[in-house]
Subunit: 386 residues, 3 copies
């Protein structure tokens, strides 16, 4: 399939340019506050890799919607998540980013002590604890699921369906319910992790990821590997479509050279293709024949987003001491190119020229679905916020 064929698949261009979200959605701290509580505080949020917590007692501290969340692997091997706040007088239980808890979680202020399951097990001078309900004063729990090797948490008391809001989004994009399993992502290991501190609103990053109209302008290496991207159409637009490697390209690497073979579950239909998937609100999946690139975004402020990006490979590739640099460099460059573009847009979001937003060209029209999803989630049904 060539880029010409892709264009042929494209429906009749829409008769006009359609609007983006208004500029205030990207610049107003009050709207960011609504997003934190109504989007990130209520959605399944990929916060870590399961392998980041290898043994009983392993913990990792992450920021989710303004909350410090502790993810802890219990004695039983299960992962659990809690708010990182002592129930007594509010001290942070952990201030390190990650580490291992020897026995229990003990608050360093007054020594209240919690089990790895979050239950209150001891407090000085309350030995009998006759009138203290241990359950009532256990750590505040956070819902947790594991899928694709990622740890997904949800702050909501009643989390939305994981099936409907995460799994089925991936299936719908690939056009096949079981297809994602072929990449065996939960068996892959982190070959490289790069953390980007991006001075842009998280939605600029999502919208950038969803379209390829910019590819010809800012991604020379990527369009070399995936020539159809030079045409400006995003693979995400077409259900089940993966962008095909160009002629002479033998791997998803910065120079198009050979990578690390093909993941075990993949067949010919996928061994020269790139699939991009967006899982609202903060995950990007990039599937290529020999590895997977997994982005997790942490929105920190209306104009700042931390992006944690993992390059995942079979354990044996990493353990074999393979040189991953050409493999990693391709998408690392794409990331840097994309984030620079987003940072260039951020300061204009508060301009009167962008008060009612910008426009989407026909090859970007699918971004309108994201726009409407955001507007609905924070309460403005018509894509405009009061």
């Amino acid at each position: 399939m060539s880029s010409v064929e892709v264009r042929d698949q494209h429906p009749e261009p829409a008769p006009s340019l359609i609007p983006t979200l208004p500029g205030s959605y990207y610049a107003d701290p009050a709207i960011f506050g609504h997003e934190q509580s109504r989007i990130f505080g209520r959605s399944w949020f990929a916060a870590a890799r399961g392998t980041d917590l290898p043994t009983p007692g392993s913990f990792r501290k992450v920021d989710v919607a303004g909350e410090s969340v502790l993810i802890v692997r219990g004695r039983d091997g299960a992962l659990r998540a809690f708010l990182n706040v002592c129930r007594h007088r509010g001290a942070r239980l952990c201030v390190d980013e990650s580490g291992t808890i020897r026995r229990n979680l003990q608050c360093p202020y007054h020594a209240w002590t919690y089990g790895l399951d979050g239950s209150l097990v001891a407090a000085p001078n309350l030995t009998s604890m006759g009138d203290v309900n241990r359950d009532e004063y256990g750590l505040v729990g956070v819902a947790l699921r594991e899928w694709l090797g990622a740890v997904w948490v949800c702050l909501a008391g009643e989390p939305p369906s994981f099936e409907d809001t995460v799994r089925s989004v991936v299936s719908a994009r690939l056009g096949d319910e079981g297809l994602i399993d072929r990449w065996g992502i939960d068996e892959l290991a982190v070959g490289r992790r790069i953390v980007y501190d991006v001075r842009a609103n998280w939605k600029l990053i999502v919208e950038n990821f969803m379209e390829c109209y910019h590819c010809a302008t800012i991604h020379p290496e990527l369009t070399e590997v995936l020539p159809e991207f030079a045409g400006g159409y995003a693979a995400q637009y077409y259900v089940g479509h993966g962008a095909e490697f160009g002629e002479g390209i033998t791997g998803f690497t910065v120079d198009g050279g050979t990578g690390f073979g093909t993941l075990g579950g993949l067949d010919e239909a996928h061994d020269r293709r790139y699939y991009a998937i967006t899982v609202n609100p903060q995950v990007f999946l990039n599937l290529v024949p020999d590895h997977v690139i997994f982005h997790r975004m942490y929105p920190m402020a209306v104009d700042r987003t931390i992006v944690e990006c993992d390059w995942l490979y079979p354990r044996e590739v990493i353990d074999g001491g393979a040189d991953l640099s050409r493999s990693v460099d391709l998408f690392h460059r794409v990331n840097e190119q994309d984030f620079a573009a987003c940072e260039r847009c951020q300061p204009a979001m508060s301009s009167r020229a962008y008060a009612s937003g910008g426009v989407l060209v026909p090859s970007e029209h699918h971004i309108a679905a994201f726009r409407d999803w955001v507007a609905a989630a924070i309460g403005g049904g018509d894509g405009r916020h009061d």
Copy 2:
């Protein structure tokens, strides 16, 4: 008296844990704004030591409730306080922290000139000043009292009773009206001053000072000197009670070794005891046999407090060149341990886990009085702020 006896004095434990202030009281800048105007702008506020202003013309610039206040010693030897603002066009009269005014206070912008009593004495081109009321354009005065060697100021037009809100608080804690005079604090000199910049709300610091439930966990040196503190009960809870030195402890020093004797006015009943007193909203007094430790807090932001701590000794101890380090180090370590704990609580104050606050265990129940005092002072009668 041993720590066991102290426990015996303790009333029947309350049947349940009672709530602290909600987290917003420690994290919301709007509530901090209310506190500045309704608490610190209306209370007697210890702003300096009288000896910081040794001679006529001495001045000291301090921050009180967001105002820059000048304390000045007049030609008549009396201290007076003024807002540090020229009445003409608003220039700061002094920008140095302290110093000596040679003759008058002259504004460096247009040369309006004020006497050390704040009166306007000259202004260029207004030599006759026929129609300028000199009193009307004198510096804005701030009420001032001296007690315990401290300079207390109050921004309110009608300050509250000093007797009721300061003196009687000290008497009530010690259980004896004249007892405080035995330490002769106004005759003591500053042996050491340490200024701490604490990234925590001022109320976390007050609450920390009021309880000793944390002492066993974070104050190894202090509990060595005062073993009953390891039991978790705050001496402040018991009217007239001072915590007793442990066996073998010969002074209030970092290693329990001998200090500098006993202050002249003290008798046997106080020569091996430590008394802590909180004077709302910003003074802590620590009385030990041979010195006094005097804390003054300056709240700067909802999450930042400057604490100025003086170690006070008889003039002859200081002039004799005594090595104060072991004496100072004990409470300096306590300060550092306490402030680190407060800084660890601050970031969790805005967590949903702390939205309705934490809890007070029975040995902290007396903190509820502070909680209610704060809530009443800023307008929420039931301890909850609208």
Copy 3:
């Protein structure tokens, strides 16, 4: 005319000191926001010198009322101004402060391309652009005028009369409609540009410039050259009056020594005089026999103002390699002295001592007109803001 005569011209002193704006006008970010939209967003704003943009394709990026504005010289030699925002997805078109555009303005994100006249000339995949109205998606234009060699822009859709709000202000001050032309300012070149970052509200800087009551206190060099300024009366108060050089002063230089002759259009009436003119809201003009000093203010925050100051000389003086330092140093020192005074006032603007403002002495009474102009412009008709 001596300073005595100036005093004689002075009307009967007002019977009392009259008020300035309230302190909140200088300290409240919300009022600064109103000023940005209602004053700086609606007024003619001197943003650059025409000679800053020497050739077709020259551009300069300036901040006006929170907007990034691009000033561009077209192929036809004319200057035009645009908001620095791509109409597609909002990227900043230019991030450099100034430079030269080779051909067109191309957005670096998706390659939308604009002519130097702001029209949309190309966009990838929209080659036919059948349904895209090129005018509708051209850059947002900003009104522009050139006068006195300055580039004046106005963000308003319907700019106010340039004649009424700029030209006639200069004429009214000089008392003669054509007089300003004698300095030939549009023919002068920039001999020196100094940019000051002042930590003070822009109105403190204007008010400082409008009065000379402070001159005796803070400007020793200036009052040496212009002795009448030591008397405290501002030349701006008297229509048509220029302050006269002192005896023995042969030029407007830091030591009163000879400058660079007399500009061609000037006659005896102006060859030993200094004229200061304020053009609301952000321009100061200083006219002396041999050069012109032109201040442009860029208000950045309620407590921060960038001041760009140009010293303008005939081209031949500059090209002849003259040493400008004594000429520049006089007003550079005045600037530094003034801005330090303004910075000293800024922190007191939020004091309760300044809640209802300060006072204007009789020789400052003309500042009341500026006060009323500001209050009316942002909506408080009586000089007090709701």
